[in-house]
Amino acid sequence: MKERNKHAEPEWICSKCEVPLQKGKVNVAYMQGMFPVDLHKCPACGQVFIPEDLALGKMAQVEKLLEDK
């Protein structure tokens, strides 16, 4: 898992649309704040991919900061 996260392109494809994911802007929200983030998502249905290292790293840090705002 860890190793794979280092690659720029994820191995995941959208299972429904059967197409590779592409980078794009996605809005994420927490504690009355909304931020655009560059994430991989399905170009067809919009399904978003958040990798483990992002969820447990940067995202968790920002969550903590917003909780203490």
Partner: protein, 776 residues
């Protein structure tokens, strides 16, 4: 929290109060800081500290009557520090050249000082430094007054001359051989100068026609030293009888009179906020328990005083008096690196902040609320009360971050949901004299114990023993959710009333505390008292186990000595010898679960558990399921008291408690099996989602535990992905990655289907919400 309440709390913490020595010193030399510098060999810094307060350090360090030494706490562990000896070492070994004394710019006001003794000269020194023109009238041919009564050996004359030279350097005008009242009239002095300080020594020849006190001295205000005549102040030996003569007291009075004169000339209040001037008794508490007694370092040459090396050794005896009683025993208070006075201020600020970061959130949410601080605090300050009240305020303000408490609150909701909550009279009975309430954690951790205890109570007690499986609401109470807590309590209370208000038998001391506090009309007993009174168990059940065990008292029994005693009597009946941990009984420690510390600050909880389990090498006995499981999880062999009562094999002390998902399952299964076995009822049909099986490999389970992810969360995510087709696929491995947000957390699960089972490969979560995402 109101300002006034904050001040009250701050005042209860005495850590910042002066050490006994500095408080007893009429001019408050910072002895502790000075000794600390000497101990480090830093005599120059030490000398600066001394000279900052002492006007004539050469003289004072030789002949001060040292009231500080009489109250030195070192006397309780050896002999008092030779403070005067250390002061002299500062002068002798600092190696600094005489420093230029800073003088403020002239103020165009003049002061006459009548009398060249120590109080007069101190006033002259202080006022001159403040920029006033000062003239000293001395009737004799020498300055120094009673200093000349000391022998040359005790106080060499060149030391007097050296110190007093400073007066001329800063511009004090000295008029020797001038007697005010004879050579120059008192009226002329008063007319010519803007203020007058009368310090005519211990045998005044003249009281200048001023009002006298009962002892015949000039009557003055005891705080400001003002006489009845405006602009005229009096102090020094003139005011004290013979025998009370004190060099440092005279200096102190001169200094306090100078403060008054400065205020008088600046036309501000003479009396406002003049606290702790002169000697006083400090409120600082310093324990000398466990401190190795040490005696004064002798001087190789008493004539010369301490050598540098001797002074360093003597200064090292100083205990640097401080309190920190609570910080010493509490891992939480210790971990934030300060002490309650600072903490309450930080908490207050955190609650009043409008913009900016709330840096106190973690401080507020990390406390276990266990109250050990209050037990050891000389003033009874309880940080738990402060933190708990602060949490409630944060919840009301809508400022409580969701992450610390959401998981345990969900756990509470699960315990009180249809899946695991149960209330019944004893099978075959229509009423209950008793109601056994095992608590959510015992049901989650050791459901088999719940069953055994219930069977036992039903057999031994008459009048009917009902059973109630629920959570008492402690997580809501601890986390400041007053409304949610009241909801839980209301539901409980309603059912309890419907059962005819039976006497509660509580296996968990947290439930005991909650009901004792919030349901005072209920008659409550701890399970341990009940078993103790029933003379249970029979010693026969004892299986091979260690001879000696150490009891860890649950922190919620702190003031329930009767429960603690029952536990010990039960252990004695079982044939165990009980070892008392250093902190037990009313001074017991929390296991890291109390106050939801574990969820708010996991690192700290780990540290708290580590500290606790290192207190003794023998096996522990806990009578709270959480305490037991937390200790065992960190590798400490710990029995639950019920393990011993029911004769479980010795290896159960090492078993790790079940994980979060298993706890849920245990509660649900307990309800199910009890309903079937005891009441012959079959629960309603099974929920569709729970029908499909998850396979969680051994290397994935700890990851889920660490990330507080339940099987149920993953089931929901998989169910959603399989029903909607919204999932990601790894074409190389064939694995699926799906995500789902049931309420406030998004769960990600990597899995593969195997027949009708799902094998979990990984799971993680985040709280941020993806605003645009694929919709079904």
């Amino acid at each position: 929290m109101e300002q006034e309440e904050l001040r009250k709390l701050e005042d209860q913490c005495i850590q910042e109060h002066a050490p006994a020595c500095a408080a007893a010193c009429p001019i408050h030399v910072d002895v502790r800081a000075m000794a600390a510098e000497i101990a480090r060999g830093n005599l120059k810094e030490a000398s600066k500290i001394l000279k900052k307060t002492v006007p004539f350090p050469g003289i004072v360090s030789r002949v001060c009557d040292a009231p500080c030494e009489a109250v030195c706490k070192r006397r309780e562990a050896g002999t008092a520090i030779s403070i005067r000896g250390l002061e002299k070492a500062c002068i002798d070994w600092a190696g600094d050249l005489p420093q230029k004394i800073a003088v403020l710019p002239g103020r165009n006001k003049s002061v006459a000082v009548v009398g060249g003794g120590m109080s007069g000269l101190t006033a002259a020194f202080d006022l001159s430094k403040k920029g006033y023109s000062v003239v000293v009238f001395e009737m004799s041919g020498n300055l120094g007054g009673s200093l000349w009564n000391f022998s040359e050996e005790a106080l060499p004359r060149d030391v007097i001359a050296g110190d007093l030279q400073a007066l001329e350097e800063i511009g004090v005008e000295i008029r020797l051989d001038v007697t005010v009242g004879a050579d120059i009239s008192f009226g002329d002095v008063c007319a010519k100068y803007d203020a007058v300080f009368l310090a005519p020594g211990s045998s005044p020849r003249d009281t200048f026609g001023l009002k006298l006190d009962a002892e015949g001295g000039i009557e003055v205000d005891p705080v400001t030293f003002a006489t009845e005549r405006e602009g005229v102040f009096a102090g020094g030996g003139a005011r004290r009888g013979i025998g009370e003569r004190s060099l440092i007291q005279s200096i102190s009075e001169g200094r306090r009179a100078a403060i008054s004169i400065d205020r008088y000339l600046q036309k501000v209040s003479l009396s406002a906020s003049r606290i702790q001037e002169g000697a006083y008794t400090t409120r600082l508490y310093t324990s000398t328990e466990g401190i190795e007694p040490l005696s004064t370092v002798p001087m190789a040459d008493p004539q010369k005083g301490y050598s540098l090396e001797e002074a360093v050794r003597e200064a090292n005896r100083c205990m640097r008096c401080e309190c920190l009683e609570c910080v010493k025993v509490c891992g939480y208070l210790h971990s934030f690196k300060r002490y309650p006075k600072k903490y309450v201020r930080e908490i207050y600020n955190n609650l009043s902040i409008v913009m900016g970061n709330r840096t106190g959130n973690k401080l507020i949410n990390s406390c276990s609320l266990c109250g050990l601080c209050r037990e050891v605090c000389p003033e009874g300050l309880h940080m738990g009360t402060v933190c708990k009240a602060a949490r409630a305020v944060m919840v009301n303000q809508g400022r409580m971050p969701p992450s610390p408490h959401e998981f345990p609150l969900r756990d509470m909701d699960f315990s009180n949901s249809e899946k695991s909550a149960l209330t019944r009279h004893q099978p075959g009975m229509a009423e209950s004299a008793f109601l056994f309430f095992p608590g959510c954690q015992l049901a989650g951790s050791s459901p088999e114990h719940v069953r055994r205890v219930y069977d036992l109570l039903a057999e031994k007690l008459s009048g009917g023993v009902g059973l109630m499986l629920r959570c008492c609401g402690a997580p809501a109470d601890w986390s400041g959710r007053a409304e949610r807590f009241q909801d839980v309590l209301r539901d409980f209370s309603k059912q309890w009333r419907e059962m005819g208000k039976p006497q509660l038998i509580l296996a968990c001391s947290t439930c005991y505390e909650i009901f004792k506090t919030h349901l005072p009309e209920a008659v409550i007993s701890s399970l341990w008292e009940v078993l103790d009174a029933l003379k249970l168990p029979d010693a026969a059940v004892r299986t091979p186990a260690p001879e000696i065990v150490a009891v860890h008292d649950a922190c919620t029994t702190r003031h329930e000595r009767h429960i603690q005693e029952s536990v010990r009597r039960i252990l004695a009946r079982l044939g165990f010898k009980v070892e008392e941990l250093p902190l037990s009984g009313e001074k017991t420690e929390c296991c890291g679960y109390g106050g939801l510390m574990f969820f708010a600050n996991r690192e700290l909880a780990g540290e708290v558990i580590r500290r606790r389990i290192q207190e003794s090498p023998v096996d522990y006995v806990a009578y709270c399921a959480m305490c037991r499981d937390y200790f065992a999880r960190m590798g400490k062999r710990t029995f639950h008291l019920l393990d011993l009562i029911f004769g479980a094999p010795a290896e159960v002390a090492a078993r790790r408690g079940p994980g979060y998902s298993s706890r849920h399952e245990n509660r649900a299964r307990l309800k199910e099996s009890l309903l079937k076995d005891l009441w012959g009822e079959t629960p309603d049909g099974e929920d569709g989602i729970e029908a499909f099986r998850l396979v969680v490999p051994n290397d994935v389970r700890p990851i889920m535990e660490d990330r507080l992810i339940l099987d149920d969360d993953l089931r929901k995510a998989i169910d959603y992905a399989e029903k909607t087709g919204i999932k990601l696929l790894n074409p190389r491995t064939g694995r699926i990655l799906a995500h789902f947000r049931p309420t406030s957390v998004t769960y990600w699960v990597e899995y593969s289907a195997q027949g009708d089972e799902f094998v979990i490969h990984n799971a993680y979560s985040h709280r941020m919400e993806i605003v645009e995402d694929a919709r079904p």
